[in-house]
Every structure is written in structure tokens, then in C-alpha cells.
């Protein structure tokens, strides 16, 4: 294991030099001694090359998209175009302060304005706020909008939001944060919403319904119109968790099939990098009647140019970010949309769907698939066969995939499929790469039979072997004990 940065610190070393002090006023003449730190913080001291030789080898311990398939279902780990990385580093984007006069921000404002328009067009919704910093914050924003909408009509009794049992954990967590009760909807035998159950739980107290479509099983919720009419009949609002929008680009507009509002995940659908966990960006789109509640400001345009639009300030839910959200992520998404255009985006959805179905076809004889129909952009296989026959579970299979140079799928989610392996190849994988992944999966199925020990011991070739999570929680060693 690499030493921590604290262990390679050499007193007196410097990785950067700063200009000499000018003016040089003694600190205690400007800030009372009382406020001054007595003992300096023990920040490691290294030369620039030491820093590089620490972080570059660290980076090499990661799997990443450039190394191989990263089929994390629901996360849309598509390739991140390098052009966008170059363009976003233009100093005229990087070095903008959020409170500069609008006249000096016109280029970025125009870009964001057009991105708002493009997302509205893609979703079939009327207005978009780019402010939420990630998908979960988009959910929170959207559910706050639902709350504020009902309250504006005096419907304060509406206290529940319905969420399918296949939903991502952020959905119920976001609703709870807004103060709603979450009512869980069962899935039916086809992996879709159980309509009979839905009818039995919808009532006048229903504020809204939060649906992922295609759902987390990779299946299109084909009863969407009926669901929407049930929810709308009690003045509930239809929220789309847009994490899976990649499957719908140019094929379906969520705003035209019954959804009143949704969030986008720019870091999934629009090829912005996942950054080792973030930053992402989770814009929210709404239909006209919800537009007054969007966060402030939006980006507006008039005859003088582009501006921060606070005109709906009095009805808005307020703010969810200090300024305007993760702007550098939005810029990349805009570049991506400009590169692809309408046809390109549709081809993205088509190829994402073809890739997923192709992969499913290649492995379906080797792994159980609970809902074996054509899927959208992802599908959920499981290891129940392997578990029953050979005592091998999904975790073992996931770890073995790491040995073969692939990232594992999303595992044990959605919760309604035992031993789930949620596989989303994305459109940026070639046929060859899918063939190779399928071959690895098939090889592993073989190994389960012939050499189950291999799976119990996997991974064998990764930078570290299987990691002890239980010990981590027990030790709770979350920071390095720096020595003086």
C-alpha cells in the first residue's frame, strides 16, 4: 500500500513558491493575537515531484472508463469526450467570479441559457433550472416544488409521495428531507408498477408520484398514461427521476407522456465525467404551471442580453446552492449536446438500448434474468442459479470481474431482485468490448462450477485483495494520525 501523503512529508520542502510579501505588515498588528493560531496546521511538506509521485501512482490503482468497461447500472458510465475537457478549461470560463457584472459574463450566460432551452426541448417540459448540484439535489428541488405548489393552492393536507419499491435510495431520502411520508408501491410480476396496488394507496392526501422510467430494472413503464391519470385525478404531480434518460433521448419526451417535472443527471446522460463521485449536475425541468416555483435565479434573455432572472422570486422555492450550481459541468453537457445534435442524441439512445439487449442475449443462458424481455438501456441479471448450485453470490462474481479487467455492475440493487447485478453498458462500448465482457461473465459462470474457490478468493490481481468492510466500521479510522 502507498504511504499516505503525511508519511512522506519532509520539513522545509515546498511544492510551490509564492512572491515575496509586499506589503509586509506583521500579522499581530492587523489581527489581534487572541484570534491567531498558535500551532501551525500540519499540512504535509513536499516538492512538486514528490506530490506527482504520490498522486499519479495512486490514480493508477483506480479502474476508470479509459481502462475498460464500467457497467455500473443506473450510473451511465459512458465515455467522457476529451474535447469537452479541453474546452471547459478555457481561462475565460475558469476565471469568472459568480458576482461579476452580468455584462462580463455574457458568454457563459448564453451557454447556460441555451442549455436550459435544449433540456426543455429534450424533455418536452417548459422550463429548466440548472441549479441543483446532483441528481439527488434535483430530486429534493423537484419535491420541494411539489410541496410549494400544493401549499400555494392551500392543499396542505397532502402529505404523501408514492415511490415504487424498485426506486433508488435517494428518492425516498429526498422526499423525507422535504417532510413527506413515503408510501412504497409494489412492483408486479412484469417488473412494472402494480396498478391495483397503486389504486389502493392513492387518495386525496397524495402529493405526487416519483417514478424512474425506464425503471431500475431497465424496463419501460408501459402503463405510464394510466398511472399519470390516476395521480392527476387527485391533483398529484408526476415526478420523473431522470437518471435513465439516456434510453429516451429523441425517442420519448417525458413531458409529453404524463410527467409534470423531472431532474436530469448531466453526469450520466450528457457525458460529463463522474469525477470519482462528483461533481455532477442535476437540473430540474417543469411544466408551465410549476415554473413559478423553480429556484432563483434562472438564466434569462432580453434585448440587452443574458441575465440572472429573479422575476419569480416571490413564488420560488428559494435556493439550493450558494450560486448557480455546478457551472463547469453544465458547460461540458452543452458541448456534448452541440456535438451530437438531434440525430446524434437519438442514436445514443438506440445504441444504448441495442448494446444492453445484445449483452443480455450473450449472457442470458448463463445467468438468471428475472424479467426476461427486451430491455431498454440496462438489464438486471442475478446469480440465483450460481448461489443455489455452487454457493456463489453476486459479491463473489462482482469481485471476480475485477480480476478480469472490468468494473463490476451495480450489485444488490434494485432491492426487489435477489442477488441483483444491474448491467448498463452504454452506447459508447463497441461490439468487441461487449463480446469481451460477455466472455468474462461466461468464463466466471464456468468457474463457479469448476473452481468455486477462485470466486470466494477473488479478486486476486487487483491493487488490494478483498477489503474488510466490517473492520473499517469497527476501527472507524477516518483520518491519519499525523506525527509532529
Amino acid at each position: 500500500m502507498s504511504k499516505t501523503i503525511f508519511e512522506i512529508s519532509v520539513p522545509g520542502c515546498k511544492g510551490v513558491t509564492l512572491p515575496p510579501r509586499d506589503p509586509d505588515i506583521p500579522l499581530d498588528e492587523i489581527i489581534p493575537q487572541d484570534f491567531l493560531r498558535e500551532k501551525p496546521a500540519r499540512i504535509p511538506e513536499l516538492s512538486e515531484i514528490d506530490v506527482m509521485r504520490h498522486f499519479i501512482p495512486l490514480s493508477q490503482k483506480n479502474h476508470c472508463i479509459e481502462k475498460g468497461l464500467y457497467p455500473l447500472g443506473s450510473c451511465t458510465m459512458k465515455y467522457n469526450p476529451k474535447l469537452n475537457e479541453t474546452l471547459v478549461r478555457n481561462p475565460a470560463f475558469q476565471n469568472l467570479h459568480p458576482l461579476q457584472p452580468e455584462s462580463t459574463l455574457q458568454g457563459t450566460l448564453q451557454t447556460l441559457y441555451e442549455l436550459q432551452q435544449d433540456l426543455a426541448e429534450i424533455s418536452g417540459l417548459d422550463k429548466v433550472s440548472l441549479q441543483p448540484a446532483a441528481g439527488a439535489q434535483g430530486e429534493f428541488t423537484g419535491i420541494r416544488i411539489i410541496f410549494t405548489y400544493h401549499h400555494s393552492k392551500g392543499n396542505t393536507h397532502k402529505h404523501k409521495i408514492i415511490i415504487p419499491d424498485s426506486a433508488h435510495g435517494t428518492n425516498p431520502a429526498s422526499c423525507a428531507l422535504v417532510g413527506y411520508n413515503v408510501v412504497e408501491l409494489k412492483s408486479n410480476a412484469y417488473g412494472r408498477c402494480d396498478l391495483a396496488h397503486l389504486k389502493s394507496i392513492v387518495d386525496d392526501n397524495t402529493a405526487g408520484f416519483m417514478l424512474t422510467n425506464p425503471n431500475t430494472l431497465g424496463l419501460f413503464e408501459d402503463q405510464i398514461e394510466e398511472i399519470a391519470s390516476i395521480i392527476h385525478s387527485v391533483d398529484g404531480l408526476m415526478y420523473l427521476d431522470g437518471a435513465n434518460l439516456n434510453a429516451l433521448l429523441g425517442l420519448v419526451k417525458p413531458g409529453k407522456i404524463g410527467f409534470d417535472l423531472m431532474h436530469f443527471n448531466l453526469h450520466k446522460t450528457f457525458a460529463t465525467p463522474h469525477g470519482g463521485g462528483g461533481p455532477g449536475s442535476g437540473p430540474v425541468g417543469v411544466c408551465d404551471k410549476l415554473a413559478p416555483f423553480l429556484p432563483v435565479p434562472l438564466i434569462g434573455k432580453n434585448d440587452k442580453g443574458y441575465f440572472f432572472d429573479y422575476s419569480h422570486q416571490n413564488t420560488s422555492i428559494g435556493k439550493v446552492h450558494t450560486f448557480y450550481g455546478n457551472v463547469a459541468v453544465m458547460l461540458r453537457a452543452y458541448f456534448y449536446i452541440r456535438t451530437l445534435g438531434a440525430n446524434g442524441l437519438r442514436r445514443v439512445a438506440e445504441n444504448a438500448i441495442i448494446n444492453a439487449n445484445y449483452l443480455m442475449a450473450l449472457i442470458k443462458d448463463y445467468y438468471h434474468i428475472q424479467y426476461p424481455e427486451y430491455c431498454m438501456h440496462e438489464f438486471v441479471a442475478d446469480s440465483t442459479w450460481q448461489k443455489k448450485e455452487y454457493g456463489i453470490n453476486t459479491l463473489n462474481i462482482a469481485k471476480r470481474l475485477l480480476d478480469k479487467g472490468f468494473h463490476a455492475p451495480t450489485v444488490y440493487f434494485p432491492l426487489i431482485v435477489p442477488e441483483a447485478m444491474m448491467i448498463e453498458p452504454t452506447e459508447t462500448e463497441s461490439k468487441d468490448s461487449l463480446d469481451a465482457f460477455a466472455a468474462a461473465m461466461i468464463e466466471i459462470a464456468q468457474e463457479c462450477k469448476e473452481n468455486p474457490e477462485l470466486l470466494h478468493n477473488a479478486p486476486l490481481t487487483t491493487p488490494v485483495r478483498r477489503v474488510d468492510d466490517v473492520l473499517a466500521a469497527k476501527l472507524l479510522d477516518t483520518s491519519f494520525p499525523i506525527k509532529d
Binding site: 511538506e45 458576482l99 462580463t104 458568454g107 435510495g169 417532510g179 462528483g278 450473450l362 424481455e373 473499517a472
Partner: protein, 449 residues
């Protein structure tokens, strides 16, 4: 087609293998009438070259802080960023990976988060840090929610000197649980301690203070802390500028319970205000109440040191509506920039950045105070790198006039509820003495009446 590697021929082969004749057969589940009949109305696709030209044109419509001299702050700061920071955050291994769910192939990410957490603990003096929040505003909002989980008291006192946008985000985040927010008064650009004292009671679950505060002033934390902890259940939540912690007392020294802050100043470009990142640290006995991801050290099956996400049972993917927060994706890459930034600067370098920022801001404050009709709003109050100035005319006009001289003079405080003549000026180590003198001269030459 850009970024789609399969040829039409391969596509055909794949459809064959699937057992369908056309793509349309795969989307049978989508009712025919729900499908889009015509293409999206977007502008035509651009080649790499055309996009580059378009983006250069867009960028040319901006005037950035390398062109004009920047004295803007209010939460986002123009500090110097060493070149090696971008070299490291540009590594695909870091930026194209996702949350380190598979620890065995994510040790790079996990270790830098562990190091980041350590740095935050070292700067703040706290025991445990999470892996980041979206920004300084959500970090402090989540801290208030955590305090409610800890003591169940649904009343929070908010210092009026915290960032006004933080207050708006706090309002969004706490409305749902029916938290009562109480604002105390200010005196000389800081919390009025007598007013705070009078508002304290047994139902106050937390008191939220920013220092240096929105106006740049350093709060008297030692005295304030005693008032806050007069109720042993009340938690002291602070929001701090991480750069200031190089020279100012760490929050542990004044017994803060939860320490948060905006981390952008640590090696992240401003990008018109995002991405930012929030840091969040507290005492270990509250670890299980914390929001966000946390990385812990452990070993692998061979006993080799390793890192992994830990205490995940707090999180949304396991606890769902009972989770400590809804956060999933965070601001990881920004914390990598912060970790690299701090490693490059080192102990002395960070002190240098903080010291020079303080020196230069005080120098400029002095120069402005000498200008007829200009005065410091809080001449007796200590500040760090930012200060409020009272102008003879509306700040808006000063800003416009200075813009004509290629200077971003500061932040107009009127939209935040202050007198329209107040201007908030931030100075970082990046400013040269010449720039400071030019700023003062430009103001002087305005000859405002």
C-alpha cells in the same frame, strides 16, 4: 457518429444476435403513440473544429479575472492555483471513475479521500470529516439537520452575518422538518452577543455562526461559545474559510461541535460559482449521525492496508427515507484538487497565502480609509481578507465606474439587505502591490461628492 463506436454493419449483427430485425422491435414496450414522431428541435451537430470555434466565440463574450483585476469574494475567492493541481485532476483514472463502490479497484480515490479527510481534520481540529457536501451552504444546512438528529431540538439560532445565500439554502433544507429559525442582531458587523444571550433557551438545538463572517469580520468565538454552550445540549455549528485556518484559531479551540465551510478556495477554479464543495467535520461520537460518504482505513484479506467507504448504514442506498441525508454524488474531484493544492503549498505555503491575503486586504483597507468620503464600515472590528466599505455613492455606481477602469471592485451589498452605499471588497495573495495602489488611486480619482 461521434462517441458511438459501432458501425451500421455491427449494429446489424448485434440485432441479429438479439433475434430481432429492427431496432423498433426492441422498444415494443413503449406504446406507439407515446413515441416521438419528429426529431428533436436542436441545432445541427458540430464537428470538433466547429465546436471549438463556437466555444471560443462564446468565451470571448466573457471578461474574466485574468483580464480585469478581481476584488470579488463573498464565498468564492480568486486564489492562486499551482499548475500541478490540474495535471492531477485531469488524470482519467480520477475524473472518469465514479464513487468507489468497488474498493479493490478504487484505492486511488479512496486514499485521496482519506487524506482529504485528514487535512480537514487537521485544519479544523475536529476528529472526523466526511468526503464532501455540494457546497458551503448545503454543508451548514445539513449540519443543522444533524444537530436535530442529535438533540431533537427544533429551534436554531442563525447569525445574521452568515452568507445570505447560505441562509436561503438553510431555509430550503429545514422547511420540511418544521425547524424554527431565529435570527439574532448584529453589532459592528458581528453578532450582538447580548442579543444572542437573550435569545438562548433550553429549546435551542444549534447556533450557526460564520467566521470570518459574510462581511469578512472575525467573530469573537471564545465569548460566543460560552453563550452557546450555556445550554449543554446546544450545538455550536460554524462555517469557516479554510484558508483562514492557516493563521486563525481552529474551531476545536473554541469547542465547535460541527465545522463546515466552502472549500472552493482550496485549489478550485471559480467557474462562475461552481463546482464548489462543502466540507463537514465533527466529533467522533456523532459519526453515525453524519451526512455524506466517509472513507475508513482497514485491511484486505492478506492484512495489507486498504481503504473503503464506511458507516454506509447511514446512507440513502441502505436506509432510504431514514438516511441521514439524501446526498449520493458529491463533489469528490473538487476535494482531490483541495488535497493536491494543500500538498503543494505545504504548511508554510498555506500560512503564506493566508498571511499575504490578510496583509494585502488590510493595506487596501487602509488606503481606502484615507480617501475622502470613503470609510470602513467596521473600523474597530478585526477582519481576515475581506472588508466592507461605505462609499459616498451607491456601490452599484462605484462598481460600474471601476469596471470602466478594468477592475472588479467588489460586491454590492444592497441586494443582501445592506445600505446601498456598502461595498464588500476581498483581497487575495494574487493581488500585487501595484494593483492595490491602482485600485485606491482609481477610487480617489472618482472624486465622488
Amino acid at each position: 457518429m461521434p462517441y458511438i463506436p459501432n458501425t451500421d454493419e455491427e449494429r446489424k449483427q448485434m440485432l441479429e444476435k438479439i433475434g430481432v430485425h429492427s431496432f423498433e422491435e426492441l422498444i415494443q414496450a413503449i406504446p406507439e403513440k407515446l413515441r416521438l414522431k419528429k426529431p428533436l428541435n436542436l441545432t445541427s451537430p458540430l464537428s470538433e473544429l466547429e465546436l471549438t470555434q463556437l466555444v471560443n466565440l462564446l468565451a470571448s463574450q466573457n471578461i474574466d479575472t485574468q483580464k480585469f483585476s478581481c476584488f470579488l469574494g463573498a464565498g468564492v475567492y480568486d486564489h492562486f492555483i499551482p499548475a500541478a493541481v490540474d495535471t492531477i485532476v485531469s488524470r482519467p483514472e480520477f475524473y472518469t471513475a465514479y464513487t468507489p463502490y468497488q474498493a479493490e479497484v478504487s484505492q486511488g480515490t479512496l486514499q485521496y479521500i482519506y487524506e482529504y479527510q485528514t487535512l480537514i481534520c487537521e485544519l479544523t481540529g475536529m476528529e472526523i470529516s466526511n468526503a464532501s457536501m455540494y457546497d458551503g451552504a448545503t454543508a451548514v444546512a445539513e449540519a443543522i439537520l444533524m444537530a436535530v438528529r442529535k438533540n431533537r431540538l427544533k429551534k436554531a439560532i442563525i447569525s445574521p452575518t452568515i452568507h445570505p445565500e447560505f441562509i436561503k439554502v438553510i431555509q430550503s433544507y429545514t422547511a420540511g422538518i418544521g425547524l424554527e429559525l431565529i435570527f439574532c442582531h448584529t453589532k459592528d458587523g458581528r453578532i450582538d452577543i447580548d442579543d444572542l444571550t437573550s435569545k438562548m433557551d433550553e429549546n435551542v438545538g444549534s447556533v450557526v455562526i460564520q467566521t470570518p463572517n459574510f462581511l469578512g469580520n472575525i467573530e469573537s468565538m471564545n465569548e460566543l461559545e460560552k453563550v452557546v454552550h450555556s445550554n449543554p445540549k446546544t450545538l455550536l455549528i460554524v462555517s469557516v474559510d479554510p484558508i483562514s485556518l492557516a493563521i486563525l484559531k481552529p474551531p476545536s479551540s473554541y469547542k465547535a461541535d460541527i465545522v463546515t465551510g466552502e472549500g472552493q478556495a482550496l485549489g478550485n477554479n471559480m467557474y462562475m460559482g461552481g463546482p464548489l464543495f462543502g466540507f463537514f467535520a465533527t466529533h467522533k461520537d456523532m459519526a453515525r449521525l453524519m451526512p455524506g460518504r466517509i472513507v475508513g482505513a482497514t485491511v484486505d484479506v492478506e492484512g495489507k492496508k486498504a481503504y473503503t467507504l464506511t458507516l454506509q448504514t447511514r446512507e440513502q442506498h441502505i436506509r432510504r427515507e431514514k438516511a441521514t441525508s439524501n446526498i449520493c454524488s458529491n463533489q469528490s474531484l473538487c476535494t482531490l484538487a483541495a488535497t493536491v493544492y494543500l500538498s503543494l503549498l505545504g504548511k508554510e505555503g498555506l500560512i503564506e497565502v493566508a498571511t499575504q491575503s490578510a496583509q494585502k486586504s488590510h493595506f487596501l483597507a487602509q488606503e481606502i480609509a484615507y480617501i475622502p468620503k470613503f470609510s470602513l464600515c467596521y473600523p474597530e472590528t478585526p477582519f481576515f481578507k475581506e472588508f466592507a466599505v461605505y462609499c459616498p455613492v451607491p456601490a452599484k455606481r462605484v462598481i460600474q465606474d471601476m469596471l470602466n477602469k478594468h477592475i472588479f471592485a467588489g460586491v454590492d451589498l444592497k441586494p443582501y439587505g445592506y445600505d446601498e452605499n456598502t461595498l464588500l471588497i476581498a483581497v487575495t495573495e494574487k493581488k500585487t502591490r501595484t494593483e492595490l495602489e491602482e485600485y485606491a488611486n482609481a477610487l480617489r480619482e472618482m472624486h465622488y461628492e
